[in-house]
């Protein structure tokens, strides 16, 4: 926490002096390439790929460890979560993950990793220090999206065929409530204060805002883009700015990122990106948003202040996950 705050502060200070195009602080962007079994590493100042590292088979979800020194990688076809030391770029060990891990979320204290096992309808919770399975929870068919509330009380999982958000009480290690959402919920994210849970439904074409206290859907947002048929609008990745201003939603084969006003829930803008935009990550200073485009095999770089796409960076085949280290 303190490290992040420090980075953020220095980022803000530095930001005043530099032109808009240059990143305020140098950061490193990691992108998993699902069909290449590699990780592309991008330097934020040059926006060029500096290295491509071989990882496990079918890498999808990636996330940084709490201290930012390691990267967790879902190697779906190896049935493992790999842990990469970011200094040496070496895989140092695997975590037991259960079958076919696709997405995961780290508890706020960085100790527990909640992994959705798509093939066998469970969520596996791994203690990253002991590298042992802490517990498993039965959920619906094809568990996919995972998020942990900022207070660490809730872990939520979305199941794609059951079409529900399953609320796992972390202390009780059990599902205590379920919220029905639109078809094929794929991704979910808590707001910074934990009061809302945002959930995208790929086939339903909607974004649901769920009130954490009542676990009821508070608002359902639909998207409409001129010249794009409704059935191509398939929301997936979500990123929320810490200041509570914007929610970004990747719209898959609609090839746009929607900008949602996080206060009024109105859709402010649609940014044209690459083909089949999938996941996104904000830079530590939240001035930039990076979005992976699966079909076109590149990463779109978006200026958050101007809401403009600055550049696209060519990476490997089927880029899936993205994480940014300050």
């Amino acid at each position: 926490m303190t490290i992040r705050r420090l980075v953020l502060l220095s980022a803000l200070l530095a930001g005043c002096a530099l032109p808009a195009l240059a990143d305020t602080v140098a950061s490193t962007i990691y992108v998993s390439n699902e069909k290449d079994n590699t990780l592309s590493i991008i330097d934020s100042t040059t926006l060029e790929v500096t290295d491509t590292v071989k990882v496990g088979r079918r890498p999808r979800g990636i996330t940084l460890s709490a201290d930012g020194s390691q990267l967790y990688i879902c190697a779906s076809d190896d049935d493992a979560v790999q842990v990469m030391d970011l200094k040496t770029k070496q895989i140092i060990h695997n975590l037991p993950s259960g079958k076919d891990p696709e997405q995961f979320a780290l508890s706020p204290d960085g100790k527990l990793l909640f992994i959705a096992n798509e093939d066998n309808n469970v969520v596996t919770v791994v203690d990253v220090t002991t590298r042992k399975v802490a517990f498993q929870v039965d959920v619906g068919v094809e568990p996919e999206g995972m998020a942990v509330s900022p207070d660490g009380k809730w872990a939520v999982n979305t199941s794609e065929t059951t079409n529900m958000v399953h609320w796992i009480d972390v202390e009780k290690q059990a599902v205590v409530d379920n919220t029905l959402v639109d078809a094929r919920p794929r991704y979910t994210r808590f707001t910074k204060d934990g009061s809302q849970l945002w959930v995208t439904s790929e086939v339903g074409g909607t974004l649901a805002i769920i009130d954490t206290a009542t676990r009821q859907v508070q608002k359902t947002i639909r998207f409409k883009i001129k010249g794009v048929t409704q059935d191509r609008i398939q929301p997936v990745g979500i990123r929320l700015t810490a200041d509570g201003r914007y929610g970004f939603v990747a719209l898959g084969p609609a090839n746009h990122v929607a900008v949602v006003d996080a206060k009024t829930f109105e859709v402010k803008d649609y940014l044209l990106v690459g083909r089949r935009v999938w996941q996104m990550a904000l830079s530590p200073d939240e001035k930039r948003l990076y979005a992976t485009n699966g079909v076109s095999g590149d990463v779109s770089v978006i200026d958050v202040e101007a809401l403009k796409v600055l550049k696209s960076v060519k990476v490997g085949r089927y880029p899936w996950g993205v994480a940014v280290k300050g």
Binding site: T162, L180, V203
Partner: protein
């Protein structure tokens, strides 16, 4: 067969794990599955023997999917399966199911049988799913208000292929038609699609049974495929009698499409996008084989009932039927877009895969074939063309 112990052991394990959840009563949705044993005609190509459980395995997979969801809503799904012997009467079987109180029946029957069954007085209050017949007649003159189709019809398949060939600008077709009545229906759909998408059947030949293709294919097929200049050879051989022997043996070097070669289909093992990989893999681990088109059509029908039960939070058949036929119903079918039933003929709109043996070549509708409502309605019989009387 191997699935039943699996499910029961899963259920048993779960019962032990969460007794609290089960102490409340589970409401049950009953679904029946009706099929008939058919004699497979002898075919020249006998490489793959069709599995005995095609169709029924799809029902079992969907029941398992429905139950996993159902346990969060205290719902459970019960499947009754009936296989009528070859010389048996599906009509009688449906009457018996109705008498036993079954209201939702998935028909895995070929030809016009679903249309006949839907017209029985006993079927008036039933909801029937046609998951086995591609007959265009069932979506036209033989349509019925109590009959929905999860299997795409021949016109949809042919249109899907025609759109792709139009995109490729392979618009001159050499059509080879098998001897069986269904081959002629397939050929008719191909000719209709040619007209719709600006292609031309420049040559049409009937394959007759006196060609001994296995022994002398090298000699027979080159001569047989001589004719006018064409871009692609379209073969209509639904049972797979000779179609596989056409490829690489044509007089001119031309690709083969239709019932063999590049095949338009509702499901194929090469399909893995939009989460299909997960369905394929859980099907494979449950049944030890790949999911086939009839499995998928039956799966979609049983899942439609499950989806209705989830959305309405009800197990009342009347409520489920109303929801499935209503405007709000959509099904996530691993095809990248929501699937729904056309109100005019009860056909499930769905993208059609264009698959070669080991690669998924494309998915139709193709980009650029526009439609005011949904591009999926560029495949098959759209509302203005339907021969189904207002329901």
């Amino acid at each position: 067969m191997r699935f039943i112990p699996l499910v029961s052991s899963l259920l048993a394990g779960w019962l032990l794990a969460t007794p609290a959840a089960f102490s409340q009563d589970l409401a049950t949705v009953r679904i029946a599955y009706l099929t008939q044993a058919t004699e497979r005609p002898p075919a020249l190509s006998n490489l793959d023997s069709p599995p005995d459980d095609e169709g029924i395995a799809g029902a079992r997979q969907a029941i398992s999917d429905n139950d996993t969801t159902g346990r969060f809503l205290h719902q459970k799904f019960e499947l009754e399966t009936v296989t009528v012997p070859e010389d048996g009467d599906p009509t009688q079987a449906l009457r018996e199911l109705a008498a036993k109180g079954q209201r939702i029946v998935v028909l895995d029957l070929p030809g016009e049988a679903p249309g006949t069954l839907a017209r029985l007085p006993e079927a008036a209050n039933l909801l029937l799913f046609d998951a086995g017949s591609t007959d265009d007649s069932l979506r036209n003159a033989l349509c019925a208000p109590n009959l929905l189709h999860t299997m795409p019809n021949r016109a949809m398949l042919a249109d899907a292929l025609a759109q792709y060939l139009a995109v490729k600008r392979w618009t001159k077709w050499f059509l080879v038609v098998g001897t069986r009545p269904e081959d002629k229906l397939y050929a008719a759909a191909i000719k209709r699609a040619a007209k719709r998408f600006g292609a031309e059947v420049v040559e049409e030949k009937a394959w007759s049974e006196d060609h001994d293709a296995r022994r002398t294919a090298q000699a027979e097929l080159p001569v047989f495929t001589q004719g006018k200049r064409y871009d692609v050879l379209v073969v209509a051989d639904e049972v797979g009698d000779f179609g596989d022997y056409v490829m690489y043996r044509t007089w001119d070097p031309r690709p083969v499409a239709g019932t063999q070669g590049l095949v338009p289909t509702n499901w194929h093992r090469t399909h893995e996008s939009w989460g299909a990989a997960q369905l394929q893999s859980r099907f494979r681990s449950a049944f030890g084989r790949n999911m086939l088109p009839r499995d998928q059509a039956v799966w979609a029908a049983v899942r439609a009932v499950g989806e209705a039960a989830t959305r309405t939070r009800s197990t009342d058949p009347a409520a489920l039927m109303a929801y499935i036929k209503g405007p709000d119903f959509t099904l996530a079918g691993f095809k990248g877009v929501p699937l729904s039933f056309r109100p005019w003929d009860g056909q499930l709109r769905q993208p059609i895969l264009l698959a070669a043996d080991r690669s998924l070549v494309s998915v139709s509708p193709q980009e650029g074939f526009l439609h005011p409502k949904t591009e999926l309605d560029t495949l098959g019989y759209d509302q203005p063309e339907t021969g189904c009387r207002p329901r």
